[in-house]
């Protein structure tokens, strides 16, 4: 097995037994990035020097017999909407293109404390708004499985670099499926934790009540390991929950006895691609063979979820993005007439079209006279969707279904049709609206060789259960093992 093919845990074992040094791992990964990333464009920025320096440091500490963190010497990538004092934090936006954060995000601190090595910042849809990474202000990322197709989004860069083995794992953020959808498109594991499980401090906000950081990895065990590293109460994030973080690894390989899996009948309606539906049915058969009960359930308000999401998320975004005005940092046009001109011209120039569209949607939604009809109503729908999930979890341990209606689509295919791009979020936004944890795991390929993902959802703060259920599938199948053939 080649070095780059290892999972985080396998690599950790090799590093621990000193069959390979962290420096060698980083050097080899940097070479692969140099070779393959010009086509894939998963990275916006690679921190080669910092990564090598850190690798040397960790190797030295290891040789001294120092106690090292659980991710010691493992190169990982992070999405460019998490603040790092190293390099830039641009959110793939021209408006923040030259922005260097003066502080590290909570998750960056956690990775550093675990002795992981951050290789660089990954590409994304601008401010995490999109489902294809085509909305990046610095050019799209390509899907390693088929470079004519999109990697999904908005964490497309993170999913692509893990799939292409240009990092051993990555962090993404998920506001309406932005971890799970690209994970499905790229055949990696993507976990969106319960809202409040991971601190958002230092995550550049998109939809504050929906955003959550989570791991993208080659398998479920690695996802458990990364989640364990970043999940922690943080008093700087008032919405992060002060609850014990279980050891997700402890019982990971123990199957759940008498597992009840609910499958919402609404998920198999029109719009769902036949091949995806077939892959999901087969995945459910795998669970059934492992002794699980498959129960048809209903999430009756599912049909309102997408509409509610596209009111709540843009509304919050319109407010969160108000600060990018060119006054204190970021892009500012030259020679503005006055401060109003400075605002409007800098923003008109600095934001891409999708971001502007959502700012306008959100601004409209929050305007006096429309607030009750749109924003407030969306909040009510949100409560009802949460109720639907609560009710479902009275009878089942887990809700299963597709991640996306179709496999990865072609670059440029939908970019002029925002509504059809929004439809790609239809199965994922419910978990964000309800605040529940959800995971995407590889469950097969289409005839064209494009990956398909299975989505699993459990009750809030039961990521341990969710990971075990996911692991049951993984240990019974090989869908997570194939890797794409890369073009140099």
């Amino acid at each position: 097995m080649e070095l780059h093919e290892l999972t985080i845990q396998q690599l950790s074992d090799e590093l621990a037994t000193k069959t390979v040094s962290s420096r060698e791992v980083v050097e080899q990964t940097l070479k692969r990035i140099e070779k393959y990333d010009p086509v894939i464009h998963g990275y916006l920025e690679v921190h080669s020097e910092a990564a090598l320096a850190r690798a040397n440091q960790i190797d030295q500490r290891r040789s001294q017999g120092d106690k090292l963190g659980p991710l010691a010497g493992v190169p990982v990538a992070i999405k460019d909407n998490m603040c790092t004092t190293e390099g830039h934090t641009s959110c793939a936006s021209k408006i923040l293109g030259n922005f260097c954060a003066p502080y590290d995000a909570h998750v960056v601190k956690a990775l550093n404390a675990a002795d992981a090595i951050i290789l660089g910042k990954t590409n994304m849809d601008e401010f995490a708004m999109g489902t294809s990474t085509e909305n990046s202000g610095f050019g799209p990322t390509r899907n390693p499985w088929n470079t004519e197709t999109v990697p999904g989004g908005s964490s497309g860069g993170s999913a692509a670099v893990v799939a292409a083995e240009l990092a051993y794992g990555a962090l993404g953020s998920d506001t309406g499926g932005s971890i799970r959808q690209p994970a499905a498109f790229c055949s990696v594991v993507g976990l969106k934790p319960t809202y409040g499980r991971v601190s958002r401090y230092g995550l550049v906000a998109f939809g504050s009540s929906l955003d959550q950081i989570g791991p993208l990895t080659k398998d479920v065990s690695d996802a458990a390991l990364l989640l364990r590293t970043i999940a922690e109460h943080d008093k700087r994030d008032s919405t992060s929950v002060n609850a014990e973080v279980p050891d997700y690894m402890a019982k990971l390989n123990e199957p759940i006895k008498g597992l009840k899996i609910g499958v919402p009948k609404e998920y198999f309606g029109p719009g769902l691609d036949d091949e995806v539906a077939e892959a999901i049915r087969k995945a459910l058969d795998v669970y059934e063979s492992a002794g699980a009960m498959i129960i048809e359930i209903s999430i009756p308000r599912y049909k309102y979820a997408l509409a509610a999401y596209y009111l709540v998320a843009p509304a919050e975004a319109s407010s969160n993005l108000a600060r990018y005005d060119g006054v204190r940092y970021g892009y500012r046009i030259k020679n503005p007439k006055d401060y109003v001109d400075m605002y409007s011209a800098s923003r008109a120039d600095g934001f891409g079209p999708e971001v502007k569209r959502r700012i306008m949607l959100g601004t409209y939604t929050l305007s006096a006279g429309y607030y009750d009809a749109y924003y407030l109503k969306a909040l009510k729908v949100r409560t009802l969707i949460k109720e639907d999930f609560d009710k479902a979890f009275e009878n089942v341990d887990c809700v299963a279904g597709p991640v996306t209606p179709t496999p990865a689509f072609k670059l440029g295919e939908k970019i002029d049709n925002p509504l059809s791009l929004y439809m790609a979020d239809i199965y994922t936004v419910t978990a964000n609206l309800a605040g529940v944890p959800a995971i995407s795991i590889p469950c097969g390929f289409s005839a064209a060789g494009l990956p398909i993902g299975l989505q699993l959802t459990t009750k809030p703060f039961t990521e341990d259960l969710l990971l075990r259920i996911a692991r049951m599938f993984e240990s019974a199948t090989d869908h997570h093992l194939p890797r794409p053939k890369l073009q140099a």
Partner: protein, 497 residues
């Protein structure tokens, strides 16, 4: 135009006041930065109050408690559940381009304050008091550019909104001053006007009515004047607006009415001393309020409320009444002593340490406050702490020092830690009240001034003057240390028998 009437309609001003009070917490409302006025620009800032990408606010519990303290003192309902909202508008001094505030669920509402106006009690309703974060400041005195100082950005700001219950400039001023006194009493704000700790926004309208008619009268359109930062500006604004609105009404009484013209914002021009039109309220900004998703709602339980309630001290009005009753002080003096909590505390501590109330009160009025004022400090910081003031009062009460001498002794006590008595002795200011000690001095004076003794004894016109002369001689011979009352009695006894 309305037909000219033979009689003049009457008017009554209707004024409501919004007051912004900066709270004196150690740190800012949503970050750990120092809350301090006057530091070099942009030194008390961090990623949170600079509105950097990715930052999150964390509520300052102390600020919330301070705000609730004010709500309790204003007899408000304290909400057991409140939340935060974002108020969106673009301005360079507002880093996030939204302000975290409270929109539909203020932490306190529906209260009142009772004010003494013309020997009557005037009750002014409090609509609401809510907490928000202050903005920074644009700095315009730089060459070729405008600077932004964000030291103030994120400082906790309490907005207190009154009902339109005030009907004269005098009532407005009594209310405003009472609010300043109250927040200082509560220890929640320095309320230093020069530091911008308190800003006023009056809403002014006139009720114009004609006693000869029964239509209930009319209101002039409401004028809101923004951002007044001194009592002087507030008073002048209200006075000016009342007159301006009367003139407007007289010019066009058919149209200058609340139901025909929208509310307008005006600004106060401190140089010309006039208000200037800014905009009609229908052009009002759209604030796009929505619940702040980065902060949890605040829930106050009984225990927390009880703890905050225990931090509310005796309020100025109650203390004023008690000082009059308990210490027999006249209203004016009691008012002075209760004007500031620090003065009232100082007075009470001195009395508790043994000073007689009247002596202590007079001494604070004539010495302490005068000297504190001269030195720009408060009476408690002069070095004559209450126990020492009590020593001095006791000396005076026991006739051991004269009232005149207390002035010099008080001033000396500010520079020295010696007791009042030691200072009086060192300065030869102890008074001789012992009759046997004074006998010989008096005798000597009488022997040396037989003419005056004759005049005194003779009675009539010259008698009073002669007695005064003799007493003066005794004071001179004793170097001012004789107790004039005792000395006078000895003279009387010796001369008149």
């Amino acid at each position: 135009m309305s037909p000219q009437k033979s009689h003049t309609p009457q008017y009554r001003p209707t004024v409501g006041l919004e007051i912004h009070v900066e709270l004196a917490t150690a740190s800012k409302m949503f970050c750990a930065c120092t809350n301090k006025f006057g530091d070099p620009p942009n030194t008390n800032v961090c990623p949170v109050c600079l509105g950097m990408p990715g930052v999150l606010p964390v509520m300052n519990r102390k600020a919330y408690e301070f705000a609730v303290r004010v709500g309790l003192a204003l007899n408000c309902n304290i909400a057991t559940y409140t939340k935060w909202d974002r108020k969106g508008y673009y301005y360079p001094d507002l880093p996030k381009n939204y302000q975290i505030s409270q929109y539909d669920l203020p932490l306190s509402s529906n209260g009142y304050i009772d004010l003494p106006v013309d020997s009557q009690v005037k009750r002014v309703g409090i609509t609401r008091a809510h907490l928000e974060e202050d903005a920074g400041k644009n700095v315009h005195d730089l060459p070729d550019c405008t600077g932004v100082d964000l030291n103030r950005a994120g400082v906790p700001l309490l907005e207190i909104v009154s009902e339109p219950d005030m009907n004269s400039p005098q009532e407005v001023m009594v209310y405003a001053r009472a609010m300043r006194q109250l927040v200082r009493y509560l220890g929640v704000s320095e309320a230093n006007m020069q530091h911008g700790h308190m800003r006023f926004e009056p809403n002014i309208s006139l009720w114009i009515f004609d006693e000869a008619e029964t239509d209930g009268g009319h209101y002039t359109p409401i004028v809101e004047v923004k951002n007044l930062n001194s009592f002087r500006a507030l008073e002048k604004t209200v006075v000016f607006e009342i007159e301006r609105q009367i003139n407007e009404w007289q010019a066009d009484s058919q149209n200058y009415r609340m139901d025909k013209m929208s509310k307008q914002n005006r600004g106060w021009d401190d140089v010309k001393e006039i208000t200037v039109f800014q905009r009609h309220k229908e052009e009002a900004q759209e604030y796009r309020y929505f619940p702040e998703p980065d902060l949890l709602p605040v829930e106050i339980d009984e225990a927390w409320l009880k703890q905050i309630r225990s931090q509310v001290p005796e309020l100025p009005a109650a203390r004023l009444e008690r000082f009059q009753k308990e210490f027999g002080l006249e209203a004016k003096l009691a008012n002075l002593l209760t004007s500031e909590k620090s003065i009232a505390d100082y007075f009470e501590q001195a009395v508790r340490a043994g000073a007689s109330a009247k002596r202590a009160a007079n001494m604070i009025q004539s010495q302490g406050l005068r000297l504190a004022n001269e030195r720009g400090t408060d009476v408690g910081s002069l070095g004559v702490w209450p126990e020492r003031l009590a020593q001095l009062c006791k000396l005076a009460d026991a006739d051991k020092v004269s009232a005149t001498a207390t002035v010099a002794i008080f001033e000396a006590m500010m520079e020295s830690e010696d007791s009042a008595e030691k200072i009086a002795q060192d300065k030869n200011l102890m008074q001789v009240s012992d009759a046997s000690e004074l006998e010989s001095v008096v005798q000597q004076v009488l022997t040396e001034n037989t003419k005056a003794v004759e005049d005194y004894r003779a009675g009539g016109k010259k008698s009073k003057k002669a007695r005064g002369f003799l007493l003066g001689q005794v004071m001179q011979k004793s170097k001012g240390q004789a107790n004039p009352k005792v000395a006078g009695e000895i003279i009387d006894k010796k001369v008149l028998g």
